[in-house]
């Protein structure tokens, strides 16, 4: 069964049609990549899935259930976790608290218990702390920075903390918005490894927006291409990569030699 089904979703802002009858199916247990030119509507689609945007038309189904009417927190509670294109960590908190925040949807402590820090509050807090330490910090290798304020961390680590926070939700579907943007090759490789591990060890379904084609080709099982709010191609990475429309709208030459020549100004015409 597919984990996520976006069914004919349309979304517009004033005059801008960010999404135009988009349908995307994300198969359980795989990595689906969503690519497309800037402004094609990828982030908007994520927002429509996580409930931040309300599409004007269409449905969103999660594990077979229509969640179109649910609000963001309810969708999160169902197990839709995500990271953000522009890092959205809580800058006033430490790494640990940021990650604990991810576990919010899994806990139930009420106000009264929290004020006295007795009963459920104490139990749950200790429990999620242990889980986070064991499952998330060790895994993502960020245990040494748990007490750092996130604002002071280098960009790459911040991205990793974001991933950690999403994992602390124990999501069933993970939406990753440009997880390796702004990283150098080495860091990208680390991130790729984490993503693959998350998929395999945690059995999480992943939908990912990414502009690094090398990474998309290497790790995704399925690719959707958006352009001007419409799906223009989908399928196995290799098929999509060969699609002329995709090359035209998105990929470009993707050939270092040609590019190099162009940059050096030897072939103006291109």
């Amino acid at each position: 069964m597919s984990t996520l089904e976006v069914d004919n979703v349309s979304l517009s802002f004033g005059g801008v049609n960010a999404l135009n009858a988009v349908s995307v199916t994300v198969e359980a247990g795989g990595i689906t990549a969503l690519i497309g030119p800037n402004g094609a509507g990828k982030t908007s689609l994520f927002n429509a899935v996580s409930g931040f945007y309300r599409p004007q038309a269409g449905r969103v189904l999660f594990e077979g259930r229509d969640i179109s009417a649910l609000r963001c927190p309810q969708r999160a509670a169902l197990g839709i976790g995500r990271t953000f294109q522009n890092i959205a960590l809580f800058r006033g908190m430490t790494v640990l608290d940021n990650v604990k925040l991810g576990a919010h949807v899994r806990t139930r402590t009420g106000l009264f218990s929290a004020l006295w820090y007795l009963g459920r509050a104490r139990r749950e807090e200790t429990q999620i702390r242990e889980q986070i330490e064991r499952e998330v910090f060790d895994f993502l290798e960020i245990d040494h920075i748990r007490r750092h304020p996130v604002a002071a961390l280098p960009y790459g680590l911040q991205k990793r903390v974001e991933l950690a926070r999403a994992l602390a939700m124990r999501p069933r579907l993970l939406l990753l918005d440009e997880p390796v943007a702004g990283m150098n090759r080495e860091e990208k490789e680390d991130m790729a490894r984490f993503i693959l591990d998350v998929k395999e060890q945690w059995g999480v379904t992943i939908l990912m927006v990414e502009h690094d084609m090398g990474m998309v080709m290497d790790i995704s099982d399925q690719v959707y291409v958006l352009n001007f709010g419409q799906v223009i191609a989908s399928g196995r990475p290799e098929t999509v990569q060969a699609n002329p429309e995709v090359i035209e709208a998105y990929l470009g030459t993707d050939d270092m030699t040609t590019l190099r020549r162009r940059l050096r100004g030897e072939s103006e015409a291109a």
Binding site: C72, G81, A88, F90, L101, H104, A114
Partner: protein, 347 residues
């Protein structure tokens, strides 16, 4: 975080006081608070009581403004709600004071929840002004709902009594207000060890992403307003008992500004900040008075001539502290501690 104090368990690492030293300091503080009435005169006890009441109100406001990021200028009016409730109960039902105080806080909470509704739509300064609106409406009610509030004339309240002792002077009232304050502070500190407190901070830092991560914004924003108003109600109830009479002008907008100033000067999003801010804003005017007394030794009629100077200095102190450390007294305190911690090594 202290260097070189390995934790045994994660539970221990989650504790409110993580090290033995911290526990020791807490003990010393409690002992000092318990011993204070035996050494201080009524004036100082009076000030401590006043500081305590303010600290409760400031703590509540800090939960809302400092931790949840919802700027409110309605705290004094919520105090008024608590105070009027206590006064009414005291004069009409004669119920015992703990019941009245709780009832006052609960009623204030209810009003706070309603006043918090605009926060679901508006943010930042817009919200602050909306809370001013709420506070004006409350003041209007205090002034004009004669049958309950006795209008502008105000109401008198008999002092509470416990175990047959009337808590009418600061030396006795101290034993009511200080423990209540300590408990209220502990409760608030606890809150920020749990998911609810984290949700508040997340809302402050970036509410929309918090929402996507599963935090129900309306629920937590209102909860924060409610808690803050609860604290205000408690402070207001104690205020009513402490001063023995209230009228609509006891809770002016200026007082809300004063409380907000205490939060900011103390340090937003810091319990220590609430305490330091409450102390600072309450005591500085008093200390300035001493300063003028002192100058009075050298100049005739100092108090008349220098009183406006006091206003200037008070303003300058707020400006100066914030220029020097925009994060407030709590941050200055942290810096001092860090300095002694690392001393004599310079980083």
């Amino acid at each position: 975080m202290r260097i070189g104090s390995p934790k045994e368990t994660y539970a221990a690492d989650e504790a409110l006081f993580r090290t033995r030293t911290q526990w020791a300091w807490f003990g010393v503080l409690l002992a000092a608070l318990a011993g204070f009435p035996f050494v201080a005169n009524l004036y100082w006890l009076y000030l401590v009581c006043l500081v305590s009441i303010n600290v409760i109100a400031v703590t509540g406001l800090n939960v809302l403004t400092g931790y949840t990021g919802q700027v409110s200028l309605g705290q004094a009016a919520f105090m008024g709600v608590g105070a009027y409730t206590v006064a009414w109960l005291e004069n009409h039902t004669g119920s015992p004071f703990p019941v009245n105080l709780l009832a006052g806080s609960v009623v204030a909470t209810g009003v706070g929840l309603i006043a918090g509704l605009p926060s679901l739509r508006v943010k930042g300064l817009y919200l602050a002004i909306a809370t001013i609106a709420a506070s004006f409406i409350l003041l209007f009610i205090f002034k004009n709902w004669e049958s309950v509030t006795n209008g502008t004339r105000g109401i008198g309240i008999e002092p509470p009594s416990a175990f047959g002792v009337a808590l009418e002077n600061p030396d006795t009232f101290y034993w009511l207000v200080v423990p209540v304050t300590v408990v209220m502070l502990l409760l608030a500190s606890n809150l920020f060890r749990t998911r609810i407190g984290r949700a508040f901070i997340a809302i402050r830092d970036r509410d929309i992403s918090a929402s996507v991560l599963g935090i129900d914004l309306p629920r937590y924003k209102l909860m924060s307003f409610g808690i803050s108003a609860f604290y205000a109600g408690m402070a207001g109830g104690l205020y009513a008992y402490f001063f023995g009479s209230i009228n609509p002008e006891s809770f002016p907008l200026l007082m809300s500004i004063f409380l907000l100033a205490a939060v900011i000067v103390g340090g937003m999003g810091s319990m220590l900040g609430s305490i330091l801010g409450g102390i600072f804003m309450t005591l500085v005017p008093e200390l300035l008075r001493y300063g003028i007394d002192f100058l009075g030794l050298f100049m005739e009629n100092a108090s008349a001539v220098l009183s406006p100077v006091r206003t200037v200095v008070f303003g300058l102190l707020i400006v100066g502290f914030l220029l020097f450390e925009p994060l407030g007294l709590a941050e200055i305190w942290r810096r001092i501690r860090r300095f002694f911690h690392l001393w004599p090594f310079r980083t």
